[in-house]
């Protein structure tokens, strides 16, 4: 039985899991082989590589320097332009978190409400 989803997601393959309407990545629910054709938000995509369960792929193009959104929150910043359908991981994302007790960065993202400023200097 097909689960109910908002209209935006009716044309995304059920093997890709969306965690929040704001996300620009989807989670791969089950292993998918290179060459598999999937519908992602109405766009037909052919996977360029094998994907494992738990991998992420871009469901929208992500511009370099902009946030990668999962759970509706930034999980990092794209370090290069990421086309729709591309694998999203360590090779094209960097963490925004600085573990040396400088935790203001993410709070600023929300308090300013203007979102992330591309190319912003980290403190």
């Amino acid at each position: 039985m097909k689960p109910a989803r908002p209209a935006l997601h009716e044309t995304t393959d059920a093997r890709l899991l969306r965690l929040d309407p704001r996300d620009n990545v989807l989670c791969v629910a089950r292993a998918l082989s290179a060459g598999t054709v999937l519908s992602v938000e109405g766009h037909a995509l052919t996977l360029s590589r094998d994907f494992a369960h738990g991998d992420k792929l871009a469901c929208r193009p992500i511009t370099a320097g902009t946030p990668v959104l999962k759970y509706g929150q930034p999980i990092g910043t794209a370090t290069q332009d990421i086309p729709r359908g591309e694998w999203v991981h360590l090779h094209n994302v960097k963490s925004n978190y600085l573990p040396t007790y400088q935790h203001g960065t993410q709070a600023r993202f929300f308090e300013e409400e203007g979102g992330w400023q591309a190319g912003e200097e980290q403190p």
């Binding site: 059920a14 989670c27 089950r30 999962k70 360590l90 925004n96 007790y101």
Partner: protein, 409 residues
């Protein structure tokens, strides 16, 4: 999908036991509490002989005094799910048994203190304890139940035995259920600040008032230092192999259990939430790390949630945790369909169905919410049915919540 009123097919009201402080319980447990390891055998023999009659064994094993353990035992022995208490003391341990008994008596519960060294030793103490407990159970059975609504529930959540599926299925589904509970006026609590490293900004954005923002961020910072001091890295190669890219992403997987409601305050163990809504429980010790890890296992975390009044715990697991808990039932939510296939009898909710396209996160959230109501109404969870009544309480140094941590405080 915004939280809406619960469907009428699952009644949001049920019956509970009214306690002296106005709180209501969803169970009427008789607790046998050993006050040092030396009293454990006697306490266990008493409790096990009456295990099918709602008698639960808890206790503190240490002989040296500890303010945190004292505070925790007072809170747990007067938990709304607890109807009566038998304290079992060896006699020479330092636990303040008199203070604890007075505290329980003031909370209008039947209480008895058995001191093994004064009662004639093991055999006589077991017999005396069994006699008292059997009589107390008769008293508990007479205690009336009153109407109770979902808005009077306190629901905690933890994840244990997590794997890559936990952040994709069970945890976000609990977030959906937490949003529904909060919309219904209930109190919800999440914890494990050590799993929220990278989420400081996200937490701060949800603080219900400005002075709480910094308090929340500082609590995560404290956790990061604590785990670093104990040699625990926060992001490991195994995480990247499992598909996680950044520490924020890993922590968000755990953090998604909290849903989207504003955060009302920061609790310390045994703090009672002053008003409904969502709270973060700070489990990390204060000051220099004296006694080791914040919580040595999942049941130590559950003990702290219960001390804050949690009637039940939503427990997500990917790899297959089997534990339940004394006092407050555990609802086990399985994130991984392969684990569910192997261990279905131990699980209450099969959240892995999301990965098979058989359910949406919103539908799972509704299912969990319904299960909460049925559990509150008396339906045993899987771990209750299987007899799981784990309990862990260790030494800790925990300072009171400072100004600004709680609403109105």
């Amino acid at each position: 999908m915004s939280p809406e009123a619960p469907s009428t097919s699952t009644s949001p009201s049920f019956e509970g036991w009214l306690r002296a402080d106005g709180r209501k319980g969803i169970r009427n447990v008789l607790v046998v509490a050993c006050l040092v390891e030396c009293a454990h055998h006697v306490a266990r023999e008493i409790a096990l002989s009456l295990r099918d009659r709602g008698v639960h064994l808890i206790g503190f094993g240490g002989c040296f005094p500890n303010a945190y353990a004292d505070r925790m035992m007072r809170a747990l022995c007067t938990h709304p799910n607890v109807g009566g208490v038998l304290l079992v003391s060896l006699g020479c341990e330092s636990f303040n048994r008199t203070g604890l008994a007075e505290h329980i008596r003031a909370a209008d519960r039947p209480v008895e203190t058995l001191v093994i060294q004064e009662s004639g030793g093991t055999r006589a103490s077991i017999e005396a304890g069994q006699r008292w407990t059997a009589e107390a159970l008769e008293q508990l059975a007479q205690q009336p139940r009153v109407a109770m609504s979902v808005s009077e529930l306190v629901v905690g959540t933890i994840c244990g035995g997590s794997d890559a599926t936990s952040g994709m299925t069970a945890n976000p589904a609990v977030g959906e259920a937490f949003d529904r509970l909060e919309a219904a006026g209930a109190t919800t609590i999440f914890e494990e600040t050590g799993e929220l490293i990278g989420c400081e900004g996200f937490l701060a954005a949800r603080a219900e008032r400005p002075e709480l923002k910094r308090i929340l961020a500082v609590s995560i910072d404290k956790a990061a230092r604590h785990y670093a001091e104990l040699g625990h890295g926060s992001f490991a190669p195994g995480n990247a192999e499992g598909g996680l890219t950044t520490i924020e992403e890993k922590s968000l997987g755990a953090y998604s259990k909290s849903g989207h409601a504003p955060i009302q305050g920061l609790l310390k163990p045994a703090d009672l939430p002053p008003r409904p809504g969502l709270y973060l429980l700070d489990v990390v010790p204060d000051g220099p790390t004296r006694f080791g890890f914040a919580n040595i296992n999942d049941n130590a975390e559950i003990a702290e949630l219960m001390a804050c009044g949690a009637h039940l715990t939503l427990f997500t697991t990917g790899r297959g945790s089997v534990v339940g808990s004394a006092i407050s039932p555990v609802i086990k939510i399985c994130a991984n369909p392969a684990t569910y296939a192997r261990m279905a009898d131990d699980m209450d909710i099969n959240a892995g169905r999301v990965l098979d396209g058989e359910a949406s996160l919103a539908e799972l959230g509704a299912e969990i919410y319904g299960r909460v109501l049925r559990t509150a109404a008396g339906e045993p969870t899987a771990s209750e049915r299987l007899g799981h009544q784990e309990f862990v309480l260790t030494y800790k140094t925990s300072a009171p919540a400072g100004p600004g941590c709680l609403p109105g405080g």
